[in-house]
């Protein structure tokens, strides 16, 4: 009896000992700060010093890695240029979802790290808002890059990211605009719906051949699709600009849910389920289950055709109005281990030569300019940008259509209202 009791005490003692060992090692670690960040010494007014500091560094660029052609574009264009011009090695880290990077940075902060793993993130929208909320981004650099002169920071679509003020916490990479995709082998351009009202007519005349992406966190394309309908139903996008307006929302949201509930019966699978991601919708479209997909790329269906995600006869088009356009960015975490190299890369991205390369569908990226081509004064560069814009090919939406329908995004509050409202009023009904 005594022996077993003693053994039990041994057990207990062992457990407590182990636990305290672990806790002690955690505690001692927080007490000693890890390597001090070199970031404090960077002087953005002296760009040469930053290029010198970056020499020989490796830049860890975390970005969504689901597109083979985008990955190749990044390696071939930025990777090579970084090595040749600045002796910087690009380590592209592919992630399945940018929110993985957000979680990584949150954990680093919680563990008290001052030097982390991430130098640069391809980011926009909700992930930017999260990192801004947690104060995890390096500030005061976006507008100080040499090539920032080409960026039109007065454009609200640039200085607001999903309605959230950018405040020099990120620098643009490219632009995007909501478009739809159809198959020119099956439909004539003249038969396409050019508004949400017409889309409903089309859907009910062709039951089961229309669907859209379920709005929600991680599926901003769906949220945007609904938001644009809100613009049309309420009679125009202008009234939604500016600060969040609860009254306006209360006035129009019932009409919005009415539209989507009316539409539901005519949708693919009668709206009992919706595709969750853009790829699911591409796949439904490519296999002829639905007639339309969507894209945000300025090259339209071009890059998707190149990746064999949609048939070669796919073409992009827009409604006559209310197609939201925006920018996407790169941001530097405050814990970046190689901030100098990250700054050089963010600056390189805005290089007009590389900007001209990024929109061409054959290079695999296909998103629009992050810079404003009219701000490029060098005639040779300006001509290059202009001619690239002319070479997007048939799968792209004509530039005049894009310009005519372009609207900018609205206050961030509407985002979650739409997502929650759609969930409660359309999906779960």
């Amino acid at each position: 009896m005594q022996a077993t009791a003693r053994k039990r005490i041994w057990n207990l003692g062992l457990l407590i000992g182990l636990l305290s060992l672990i806790i002690a090692s955690c505690g001692s670690n927080t007490a000693t700060p890890t390597s001090a960040p070199s970031s404090t010494s960077l002087d953005l007014s002296n760009w040469t010093s930053i290029e010198q500091a970056a020499n020989g560094q490796t830049v860890n660029w975390y970005m969504w890695g689901g597109s083979d052609s985008i990955n190749r574009f990044v390696d071939e264009f930025y990777g090579k240029a970084l090595k040749e011009r600045y002796n910087i090695t690009l380590n592209r880290v592919p992630v399945a979802d940018t929110v993985d990077v957000v979680n990584q940075l949150l954990s680093e902060k919680e563990a008290g790290k001052t030097s982390g793993a991430v130098d640069l993130i391809w980011i926009n929208g909700e992930n930017f808002a999260s990192l801004k909320q947690a104060k995890l981004l390096r500030g005061d650099w976006g507008q100080s890059l040499p090539n920032s002169q080409y960026v039109n920071w007065n454009n609200p679509a640039v200085n607001l990211d999903f309605g959230e003020p950018v405040e020099s916490l990120e620098s643009p990479w490219s632009s995007a605009q909501f478009q739809l995709i159809y198959d020119s082998a099956k439909l004539q351009a003249s038969d396409l719906p050019r508004s949400y009202a017409a889309l409903k007519e089309y859907a009910c005349a062709n039951p089961g051949k229309v669907s859209y992406i379920a709005p929600g966190p991680g599926a901003f394309q769906g949220t945007r699709f609904v938001k644009q309908a809100l613009f049309e139903i309420s009679g125009g996008a202008e009234q939604w600009l500016g600060a969040f307006n609860q009254q306006l929302w209360d006035q129009w949201s019932p009409k919005l849910w009415e539209y989507f509930n009316d539409l539901e019966g005519c949708l693919w699978r009668e709206g009992s389920t919706y595709p969750k991601t853009e790829n699911e919708l591409h796949s439904l479209f490519a296999n002829g289950e639905v007639d339309f997909s969507i894209t945000q790329a300025i090259a339209g269906a071009g890059s998707l055709i190149k990746e064999n995600l949609v048939p070669a006869s796919a073409r992009a088009f827009v409604f006559d109005d209310n197609m939201i356009g925006d920018f996407n960015y790169v941001a530097i975490p405050s814990t970046a281990p190689n901030p100098a190299a990250a700054l050089v890369l963010a600056n390189l991205i805005l290089d007009p030569q590389l900007q001209a390369a990024q929109i061409l569908p054959e290079n695999g990226f296909g998103l629009g300019y992050g810079i404003d081509p009219t701000k490029v004064s060098d005639p040779a560069l300006a001509a290059k940008l202009a001619s690239a814009a002319q070479q997007l090919g048939d799968p792209a939406t004509p530039a005049s259509d894009l310009a005519k329908s372009l609207r900018s995004d609205i206050a961030a509050e509407y985002q979650s209202l739409i997502e929650q409202g759609w969930d409660a009023n359309v999906l779960r009904k």
Binding site: D68, V95, V118
Partner: protein, 261 residues
């Protein structure tokens, strides 16, 4: 169902996904209702084989999984011996402790693990990733070795010891040969579980360590089935090879193999 038919059915179920991936890896723009791809291209698949990132992912996966199976055997064998060959109170409790990680979902512990590893300065290192893989791996290694030890006759060891063999010699000449099939199987299971880990590698590797599942999952998020299929094949091939090599052990009763659902 006859035995033969059942084996064939299971073999068929195994071959089907591999065949689908083989076709998709080389097919181009293959959509409904085409029964067979019209255009073929090996460029994408071959490029994956040459791609520096895929190679790095393969190498790091290999290093991690090999390291993990080594570590798991090193730690799991003595633990299994104590658990199976000693009689003591609290044995069930310890088994429960080893069992716990197999039933608590990784979403519940992943983020906490990341913070612990960051604090210990182990995040982003190969050793850290190996260490964290031990959590899902060790239970199966201990259970496998444990159930094999349950049928193990310790008298052989006693006899060798009585005849004057040192503990090391006893292990080397008696225990090891007797338990070899079980150790091999446990090592292979450890390799398998480590090779397939995604969430833990992502969290602890923090992007500094890149393993094949991370490349596979990021490709899956893009919906390009040729890419997904190519990477899936590169991912599955070594496992099939490994399991094929130890098939004769896997089929024998004494190994106590306790696989993962």
């Amino acid at each position: 169902m006859s035995y033969r038919k059942l084996v064939l059915l299971l073999a068929f179920l195994l071959i089907v996904p591999i065949a689908i991936f083989l076709v998709y890896a080389f097919a181009q723009g293959w959509f409904f209702p085409a029964l067979w791809p019209e255009r073929w291209d090996s460029e994408l698949f071959l490029r994956q084989l040459r791609d520096p990132q895929v190679r790095r992912g393969f190498e790091q996966s290999l290093v991690v999984a090999t390291g993990v199976s080594g570590l798991a055997l090193l730690l799991g064998y003595p633990a299994a011996r104590v658990l199976e060959l000693q009689q003591f109170r609290g044995r069930g409790l310890i088994y429960g402790l080893f069992f716990l990680p197999t039933v608590v979902p990784s979403v519940a512990t992943g983020i906490g693990l990341n913070i612990v590893f960051l604090r210990l300065d182990l995040a982003g290192t190969l050793f850290g990733v190996m260490l964290v893989h031990l959590i899902p791996v060790l239970p199966y290694v201990v259970l496998t070795l444990g159930s094999s030890l349950a049928h193990y006759d310790r008298n052989y060891e006693h006899q060798a010891a009585v005849l004057g063999a040192s503990p090391w010699l006893v292990f080397w000449r008696v225990s090891l040969p007797l338990l070899l099939p079980s150790l091999v199987v446990a090592g292979v299971l450890a390799f398998l579980i480590s090779w397939s880990q995604y969430v833990l590698s992502l969290l602890i590797g923090g992007g500094k360590i890149i393993t094949l599942p991370m490349l596979l999952f990021s490709a899956a998020s893009g919906g390009n089935y040729s890419l997904i299929a190519s990477l899936s094949l590169i991912f599955i091939a070594p496992l099939l090879l490994l399991l094929g090599l130890v098939a004769r052990y896997l089929g024998s009763p004494a190994t106590g193999a306790t696989p993962r659902p």
